[in-house]
């Protein structure tokens, strides 16, 4: 690809100096005069009607300013995550309800002059529950006559999704080998470092909310809707935020309650989750099962693929429809197959809410698919990487969204990984290699993921670019900075398009009163869609700027080029700086150079293949990941350090999914058993292996800015099957679930001994 001036270099990120010095402002850093502190009382039963709830004693407690129970809040049915015009989310929540549907659900809130007093007052709220049968598993929920919600006559979140291409019966008929298996997924959580927090303040009947969210405009929209306000009366502010990974696009009820407490008390109110509450009231990935059956010809061609996918949505729908649709449709692709029949469903249970989390349904279904490819390779006597390469989707194939695939990204990733790892030597069975307790093995896994949620969600990218009269430019974007460096990437795109230096572009963001509407920072949307919109707005500003410069240079605008802030006439030495071109002339300001653009996407996919080495202690069952070589094809790379950083972080979360992370709910009571960082075990510095990230730019997307595609979702998907396949390579035990615990390893080894 052609080299660009600003895009493609790891520019110094403007958000960083504040982050490394402690100056960066997060929502929880705000302190307002007279501010109250709010705390939540949470249920200690999994499913019950609230017979009586009495806050009298709490209200009388010294220092308490307000208490809200379901009696005190508007009863408006609303979406848990309000994607506008989208079937991805479910309308099934109230601010507070007279029924609790999971252990830890909020039943009341207190605002007091200090956190300690608010916390003490929670004990004084009396709640009497009439317990209902708790449906704690998908099987229980599907077989019970008890309904968790009254919206349907079963416990399904929505009607099941069915995807059909070709004829699977015919396909299986043509197969030489058929594989069938059930794959089971645990309940990892995003575990962002910044606990959910918001601060509400009312003035002149207008609500201002500072909040840690990925989706400020959705927060604004739903607050306005539920509180009955026009959008002009709600202002949402987000500057820096401490991670979200998808989950912080939901509402957590705390936003409504914080706003209502502030309204009731006439004082600003701050509400911050404890770490424990980020588990109890937070969102997890959907646990689930995938039954998968595939037919193969003896040359490795896939003749048919059939799957039944069941996701556990927990007590509310949140993103279950979207996750089910995306996860299910994903199985049409990655490895080519003409005959496909897929059914996906999501089920309510009385467990914590599953929501959006990086990899959105695809983590689960590709885990099954990619492991089964390894199983097939063994049966067919083929190398797994060769089998995957042979079947990899490519140019012109139909993608999950129905759009044609552009380029050969997946094949390129697999080929490069084979080369980098000297794969043929690595992937030999180690099964009988040693009597020693430590065994090593290699595995690989693949994935693809769409940039943006289009067409599942009818989203768009918006941007406004303004050139100042000193030749600098400002981008106004509604996208949120989760910390990935997306705003830096957007500034690079604008600088590149305008022909300015990177330092001459700044980004205005984080205030819904000021910036253009954006759906939110999720689904690998920001750089791809926000970036393309920014490029389009910048192009329009550039056109107008060049028209002015053309006059000054007495040339035609078509003959001009602009680099490093200098406009020159091509093939001559006539030039003028952008600053001089757009500056005031004879004391008269130049016309305002401002333009907005809206980008409606096509669809593009990014690809990856992960190659992993693991070590298994066959006496303790402990699995260590020794090294990871991720190869990602992401189109034009805008900021190499930021892109690699996202990949490495995704791999960390993926290793956690596979080995140690699982939010455990007591199958008898629904109580959460590890709502904290002691027992919810994320891989830490000593657990993380060296990662050698390789970025490819071989399949740029015509829709993204300068050919860029998304990168945020991808890394968490391929690492999972890569690890499971590597474990098989090391010890010859096939695991079809995650996390794979040491106990599972020892049990698996014992089973293997028996056979």
């Amino acid at each position: 690809m052609s080299k660009l001036a600003v895009v493609g270099e790891s520019q110094r990120r403007p958000d960083m100096p504040g982050k490394v010095s402690g100056r960066a402002q997060y929502a929880g850093d705000l302190s307002l005069p007279g501010m109250l502190h709010a705390k939540t009382k949470r249920s200690n039963v999994a499913h019950a009607r609230i017979k009586r709830i009495d806050a009298t004693r709490a209200l009388a407690y010294d220092g308490v300013k307000a208490v809200l129970t379901h009696h005190d809040v508007p009863r408006v049915l609303h979406y848990g995550s309000p994607h506008p015009r989208s079937a991805s989310v479910t309308r099934d929540q109230y601010i507070l309800d007279s029924k609790v549907r999971y252990w830890g659900e909020s039943v009341a809130v207190v605002a007091a002059v200090s956190e300690e007093i608010a916390e003490e007052a929670l004990d004084l709220i009396e709640v009497e529950y009439e317990e209902l049968p708790a449906l704690l598993s998908v099987d229980q929920a599907l077989s019970s006559s008890v309904k968790i919600h009254d919206l349907r006559n079963d416990n399904l979140v929505v009607d099941p999704v069915t995807v059909r291409r070709g004829d699977v019966e015919e396909g299986f008929g043509e197969a030489d080998v058929i594989l069938e298996g059930t794959y089971t997924m645990g309940r990892p959580t995003p575990a962002y470092m910044e606990p959910n927090v918001c601060v509400s303040q009312w003035s002149e009947e207008r609500l201002t909310m500072w909040i840690s969210t990925q989706t400020p405009f959705m927060v604004r929209g739903i607050l306005a809707e539920v509180l009955g306000l026009p959008l002009t009366k709600v202002r949402v502010l987000v500057d820096h935020m401490g991670g979200g990974f998808g989950a912080k696009q939901d509402l957590f009820q705390s936003e409504f309650l914080c706003a209502l407490l502030a309204k009731k008390t006439g004082r600003p109110v701050r509400m911050e989750f404890t770490r424990k509450e980020t588990f109890l009231g937070g969102r997890s990935r959907h646990p689930g099962t995938v039954w998968l059956k595939q037919g193969f010809r003896s040359d490795g061609t896939i003749t048919a693929r059939q799957a039944r996918i069941t996701f556990n949505s927990g007590a509310y729908g949140s993103h279950a429809p979207g996750v089910t649709a995306v996860g299910t449709t994903a199985l049409t692709s990655l490895y080519r197959c003409d005959n496909v029949l897929l059914e996906g469903s999501a089920v309510y249970t009385n467990t914590p809410i599953a929501g959006a989390y990086r990899g959105y349904g695809v983590v689960q279904t590709y885990y099954a698919l990619d492991i089964q490819m390894d199983e097939a390779a063994e049966k067919l006597g083929m190398d797994p990487a060769e089998l995957k390469l042979r079947n990899a989707v490519r140019e012109g194939d139909l993608s999950p969204s129905g759009h044609p695939i552009v380029g050969h990204g997946l094949e390129d990733c697999i080929r490069r990984g084979i080369l980098e790892t000297d794969w043929k030597k690595r992937n030999r069975p180690h099964l009988a290699s040693s009597e020693k307790p430590l065994r090593r093995g290699w595995g690989m896994g693949c994935e693809m993921h769409g940039s943006s949620a289009y067409p599942g969600i009818k989203e768009q990218g918006n941007a406004t670019v303004r050139m100042n009269d000193d030749g600098t430019a400002q981008l106004f974007t509604g996208t949120t900075g989760l910390g990935t460096g997306a705003h830096t990437a957007l500034a690079q795109v604008v600088a590149e398009e305008l022909g300015l230096r990177f330092e001459d572009v700044s980004v205005v963001h984080g205030d819904t009163d000021v910036v253009p509407w954006d759906i939110g920072a999720f689904a690998s949307h920001t750089t791809y869609m926000g970036g393309r919109a920014a490029q389009m707005a910048a192009a329009e500003v550039k056109k107008r700027m060049l028209a002015i410069a053309a006059e000054a240079l007495e040339a035609s605008a078509q003959d001009l080029e602009v680099r490093q802030g200098i406009v020159s006439v091509k093939g001559s030495d006539r030039r003028i700086s952008v600053r001089d071109a757009v500056g005031p002339k004879l004391g008269l300001p130049t016309p305002q150079l401002i333009a907005s653009a809206t980008y409606k996407p096509t669809k593009s996919y990014s690809f990856a293949a992960h190659f992993v080495e693991v070590q298994v202690d066959t006496e303790t069952g402990q699995i260590d990941v020794l090294q990871v070589i991720p190869v990602h094809e992401i189109g034009r790379v805008i900021h190499p350090v930021a892109a690699a950083g996202q990949i490495e972080g995704g791999i960390q979360q993926g290793i956690g999914h596979m080995l140690t992370e699982d939010y455990v709910i007591d199958p008898q009571t629904g109580r959460s058993l590890n709502a904290g960082f002691v027992d919810y075990k994320m891989p830490l510095s000593m657990d993380m292996p060296p990662i050698r990230t390789i970025l490819l730019e071989t399949a740029p997307d015509p829709g993204g800015p300068f050919g860029a595609k998304g990168v945020g979702e991808d890394p968490i998907i391929a690492i999972g099957p890569a690890i499971a396949n590597a474990v098989y390579n090391a010890i010859g035990v096939r695991f079809r679930h995650y996390p794979i615990t040491p106990e599972d390893v020892l049990n698996g080894l014992r089973q293997k001994e028996k056979h």
Binding site: E120, T620, L684, L746
Partner: protein, 283 residues
């Protein structure tokens, strides 16, 4: 955190008097790394917190080749971790301490706090018991000494009366030709609570102590295994038998961290590994 009264007594007598006055509702504070967590998570209640850091004489860490090691009530885990004396003479304790929380925690957490918290999985307990440690206790009725292995009565429970404080731990000097080892089993390499901990202090052809953590209501000695080995020439077969015996002596529970059966199996594996390494070190 809930509100509480707060005192900084200047003497042990004053501290005991405060503890006596509040009965079980007062909590002594040294490092605070367990206490503050338990107060925040409401696992423990305190109407009164008694900070013992202003009491003189509790911060001493000393070693004498005959008398051994003395650890005062305010000595932090990090002091033990980096002291050249403990690294040389008490390597299993140092290993345990290196795996206790983070450096940030170890800069605050005291060894005696770890002991008094009496968690069955506490890392310092198996090596200290294996090394024959004795605690000194101060209370309203005067002072007394208790061997550490008799100090614990259950999870979170000790022989301490509500007005008593542990002021010091004494650990005997190591015998010649002794190997000491602590192996902790957890899912991660750091920031773990042990699912199983095994400490071995082995003196060649003499005494051997095997202490198991996290597999009973208190740390326990695998006494039958010790008997199998003590004073005998140890080979691989004997180690295997001792490991099997330790496994049978353990009484673990199942919880979110691990199942009982797995813990028991790990007692066997880790005891075997610990004995082998201790033997190598002793030679």
């Amino acid at each position: 955190m809930r509100r509480f009264e707060y005192f900084e007594p200047a003497t042990l007598a004053e501290a005991s008097a405060l503890l006596a006055r509040y009965g079980g509702r007062a909590q002594p504070l040294a490092g605070g790394t367990d206490l503050l967590v338990e107060l925040k998570e409401q696992l423990r209640r305190a109407d009164c917190v008694v900070n013992i850091k202003k009491i003189p004489g509790l911060g001493a860490l000393s070693f004498d080749p005959q008398a051994g090691l003395r650890i005062g009530a305010l000595v932090t885990a990090r002091e033990i971790e980096v002291s050249s004396t403990t690294i040389k003479h008490y390597p299993s304790l140092v290993q345990a301490v290196r795996e206790l929380g983070s450096i940030q925690v170890r800069n605050r957490a005291t060894i005696i706090g770890n002991v008094c918290r009496a968690s069955p999985s506490a890392d310092t307990l198996p090596p200290l018991i294996a090394d024959g440690a004795v605690v000194s206790i101060h209370g309203g009725q005067g002072t007394r000494s208790v061997p550490l292995e008799d100090f614990f009565t259950g999870p979170g429970k000790t022989v301490l009366k509500s007005d008593e404080l542990v002021t010091e731990i004494a650990v005997p000097a190591p015998a010649p030709r002794t190997g000491k080892i602590y192996i902790k089993h957890g899912r991660r390499k750091a920031m773990e609570l042990a699912t199983v901990g095994v400490a071995v202090t082995l003196t060649l052809e003499d005494e051997i102590r095997i202490v198991l953590g996290a597999v009973a209501p208190t740390p326990i000695r695998a006494k039958k295994a010790e008997v199998l080995l003590s004073g005998r020439k140890i080979d691989a077969a004997l180690i295997e038998r001792a490991a099997q015996s330790a496994l049978e002596e353990s009484r673990p529970i199942s919880n979110v961290r691990a199942n009982a059966a797995y813990r028991r199996e790990m007692v066997g594996v880790l005891t075997r590994r610990a004995l082998q390494r201790a033997l190598d070190l002793a030679r």
